[in-house]
Point group: C2
Chain length 271, copies 2
């Protein structure tokens, strides 16, 4: 048994959907979450900028004695993960490989869709991972740059013409290409599950990158004998790099729990 916490980070608060999955899948683990809200969004930034930010995020988290890190940021997972792994000896799980593995298990017609931020799609990392695991898979990818601001403004409910119009524009061409599996490659997107399911129809299976990463982390902790005492209830601490005033409202949105969390603010430039 290992009672040390798991570190989780994302560019902003979207990674809290991964925290939600971790609390369901590994309820006994302690979690330390860092959201780089002063520098969000990472989505459109240059590769060197992303690596610099990711290194700082990891250095901050490692100021705690951690047993593992979940990179809940799709953009960092697709651009910087191998470098972070080579520089840190503890297990680091990203959001790309677990969801690709799951998508290849689920698909029947080997036509897999992937939606994510512009930087993640540009990096080609999902496509490369899918092809490496199965050279015969056909991948249809699409960046959905308006999904993040729409989610953050609470436009997630069926019946909202704004999110429904944008979702149809992004997703109908993918549906018409005949995919049977769609990877949600950004932590914000699970909040749009109802909207996305409605456009894609019942024959397309959605795979949430954050959830699959939580399952992967569970396998990894078990294999390495790092799990916490399963009879206990884990706790979570939250850190951000910008104003904490809105944290409670937004955290409730992403965690889908009506809880009263507080976040502490840190200066990420110090790391």
């Amino acid at each position: 048994m290992d009672m040390r916490p798991i570190g989780v980070f994302d560019s902003g608060l979207g990674g809290l959907t991964a925290v939600r999955s971790l609390r369901q899948i590994l309820p006994e683990e302690n979690l330390i979450y860092f959201g780089d809200t002063a520098r969000v969004p990472y989505g459109g930034r240059a590769r060197e900028t992303l690596l610099k930010y990711a290194r700082q995020d990891v250095r901050f988290l490692r100021s705690f004695d951690l047993k593992a890190i979940l990179v809940a940021c799709g953009t960092v997972s697709t651009t910087s993960l191998s470098t972070l792994r080579s520089e840190n000896e503890l297990p680091i799980v990203g959001v790309v490989e677990p969801s690709c593995q799951r998508a290849l298990t689920v698909t029947k017609n080997k036509r897999v869709g992937i939606i994510a931020t512009l930087a993640s799609i540009r990096s080609g990392a999902y496509e490369a991972a899918l092809r490496r695991m199965d050279p015969e898979v056909e991948v249809i990818s699409r960046s959905c740059p308006l999904f993040v601001p729409l989610v953050e403004n609470g436009r997630i409910e069926p019946g909202d013409v704004v999110i429904e119009t944008v979702a149809r524009e992004y997703l109908e061409p993918m549906r018409d290409e005949g995919i049977d599996t769609l990877i949600l490659g950004c932590t914000h997107y699970p909040l749009l599950t109802k909207i996305i399911s409605h456009v894609m129809g019942p024959d397309v299976t959605l795979v949430s990158a954050g959830e699959e990463s939580a399952f992967e982390l569970k396998r990894l902790l078990k294999a390495e004998g790092l799990r916490a005492d399963e009879s206990r209830q884990g706790e979570a601490e939250f850190y951000v790099s910008d104003r904490v005033e809105d944290f409670e409202r937004i955290a409730s949105l992403f965690l889908q729990e009506d809880l009263r969390h507080t976040a502490r603010r840190i200066d990420i430039d110090q790391y």
Copy 2:
């Protein structure tokens, strides 16, 4: 005559709409533009973070020998302008006071609306400036957080149900309050002039903060004998803090000219 350039900065590329106004109003002046694209958006950030960023932006611009600075960023103008002025001896024009002055000149019923980013509205700076200039004015203010991402994704044309729906939600309540003047307090918003005019109707005058700042700068340069030779054609240089690849496409959108500009990238953390 003073041939030194004018510095202009914004959190991202939205400030290029102010460059467009400057090129129309002061075509003989040389301009140096800096867009802090690595840290955009400033809109939701904490006051200390904004001041730190603004100081770095000014330090970079002042690595050139400038005669004046236009702060094209509404958020910086509303939170950090007096500090920047106290720390720099050259004239610095923001986007708040000139547009407030203009709105008070234009309004007949003394009911003035202001739309801007969340941070600008929260700061109360437009409201405070308007009331200081005319204690009897009634101010109706509203943050429009989805306008910036929608503009940046090119959703600016009449007939687009997404931008039209969002604009109606933000603006109809303001129209129903009976304002006759509306300040566009964010550099992105002039690109939505057609959409906003359509919702507000012909009886509401729109005041563009960037354009009024260009007029104010013209008055100031004239008063202090700092204008360039009016027979010449000024030039513009562009700097950004993140990837330059998309600059040409986005610059064409904001400048509303089909020109081939290149931007150079600088590391703003060095300033």
